[in-house]
Amino acid sequence: MAQPVRSANLPTEGRSLPAFLIIGWRWIGRNPAVAIAPILLPFIFLYFLSLISPAELLPLEIVGAMLFTLQNIGSWVLGDSASWRIEASLQDLFVASPMGRLRYLFGIAFSNLIAMIPALVILGTLLGYVEWDRGTPVPFYAWLILLGVLFALWVLFSSIGIAISSRVKTQREIWPVGNLTFAVLGMLSPLYYPISYLPPAWQLVAHGIPTTYAALLVQGVLGITPAATDTLLLYAGLLGLSTAIGVTIALRLYRWRPG
């Protein structure tokens, strides 16, 4: 006679992130282009921009590439979550497990962050070198603020990605929906140029997007587009507020159920 499983003895928490770390790592190991693409893509756009724009904008464009890389995690999270749900029917398994939806969200976001880390490290090194070469080395506190901003964008765009993924119905929709959402958000925000370059109406629209405050805060802290301390604090507050609102809306849209 079969013995019932004594689930009380099984660990029910504390294993999600390491498990998703392995998933992220295995995914890179099996598909090297998955690791190479996030590294090369920002550089392809960076090279293009460096050819068509003034040389003094290079540090701003490198920071923009870092922020854009983190924003793009949303597209990857969307793709993974939707594929697992639609193609592999894995969401049923996750919903039935003791893991809650927040752990699932952070797990997928974490597994995708693994693939983005090499790109961020290379871009960070390049930023440090370019600023040092220009006689304005990046201060320690600016690195900390940059990390904080990247963390906020990681959480926000992963939430948006997973929220959209739960609404996607077929595999065919994943790429166009992700492309439209995250490319347009990236284009509307002044990631690769100062906000003053944009027409006034566009500047107004850009102020409704969290990435704009992320870009303005980092550009200000690095001294690329100088701003007063009060203004920087305002940007930080607005980034935090818009991130909180964005995550709340995303989690409300997110469907955590089988099928």
Binding site: A37, L51, I52, S83, R172, N179, A183, V184, Y193
Partner: protein, 254 residues
């Protein structure tokens, strides 16, 4: 017992017309994908508009060439999707439809649907590009060549994938590398001189260089014109024949 079905001898590209129609109906429902097919081009045009408006004519003709180039990405995705997810290619290949007609029909069906956003970009470009009949004809010819090259390469690539999830990383690298890094949206003269011959043998940048030369933005030498046009013609024909043969070969796989 004998069958009443009469099997006529197979001829190359048999069933092409019907598969173009099938793919046209399938792709016609993909309004979201059609609407988003111009996102990258749009983003790059906005970058040029904001950072260097003087390059807009080059960027616009580059956007047209790039749009035709990225249709190969659609072919790649569609062929992989039908094979991996739907497995409907088995059904098609079991019918009298010839494999090369399946490949070309898919490419033509996608072209007929996704050409309309390209036409829209071409219409907008009338504001900044001074088209002459010869320039328009040249742009049409090289764009057609880039499309056929890209569709052929896209179809061949699609047969190597075993899961849809892996496609994005590889395809975005391929299409952005040859369509954005190389001088398609910007003049060939901004590209490092030592690497310009490489740009002239790659179909998207070769096509863009020929159009830029006709536009008067760059002065391409006679050798450069021969290199670009010769490479484009040879690569287009080689890839098309290769894709047709590859379609036949892969259709026989169990």
């Amino acid at each position: 017992m004998t069958s009443d079905v009469v099997l006529s001898p197979s001829r190359p590209f048999r069933g092409l017309r019907w598969f173009v129609f099938t793919e046209l109906l399938v792709q016609g429902h993909e309004t979201l994908a059609m609407a988003t097919s111009m996102v990258v081009q749009g983003v790059l045009l906005v970058f040029v508009w904001i950072l260097n408006p003087g390059l807009l004519p080059v960027a616009f003709v580059g956007a047209i060439v790039f749009s035709m180039f990225t249709m190969g990405n659609r072919v790649l995705n569609e062929a992989a999707y039908l094979r991996i997810d739907h497995r409907s290619n088995d059904l098609y290949f079991a019918s009298p439809l010839q494999p090369e007609a399946y490949f070309l029909g898919m490419a033509l069906g996608i072209l007929l649907v996704y050409i309309w956003p390209v036409v829209a970009i071409a219409a907008v470009s009338l504001w900044v590009v001074a088209y002459t009949p010869s320039l328009a004809l040249l742009l049409f010819a090289v764009s057609a060549g880039v499309w056929l090259f890209s569709a052929s390469v896209g179809y061949i690539f699609s047969t190597f994938f075993r899961e849809n999830r892996a496609i994005w990383a590889y395809s975005s690298l391929f299409f952005n590398l040859f369509g954005v890094l190389f001088p398609v949206f910007y003049p060939l003269t901004l590209f490092p001189p030592a690497l310009q011959p490489i740009a002239l043998v790659l179909p998207p940048s070769a096509a863009a260089a020929l159009v830029q030369s006709a536009l008067g933005t760059i002065a391409l030498s006679t050798n450069g014109v021969w290199l670009a046009s010769g490479s484009l013609a040879v690569e287009v024909m080689a890839c098309f024949v290769g894709a047709a043969l590859w379609a036949r070969r892969t259709a026989r796989e169990p």
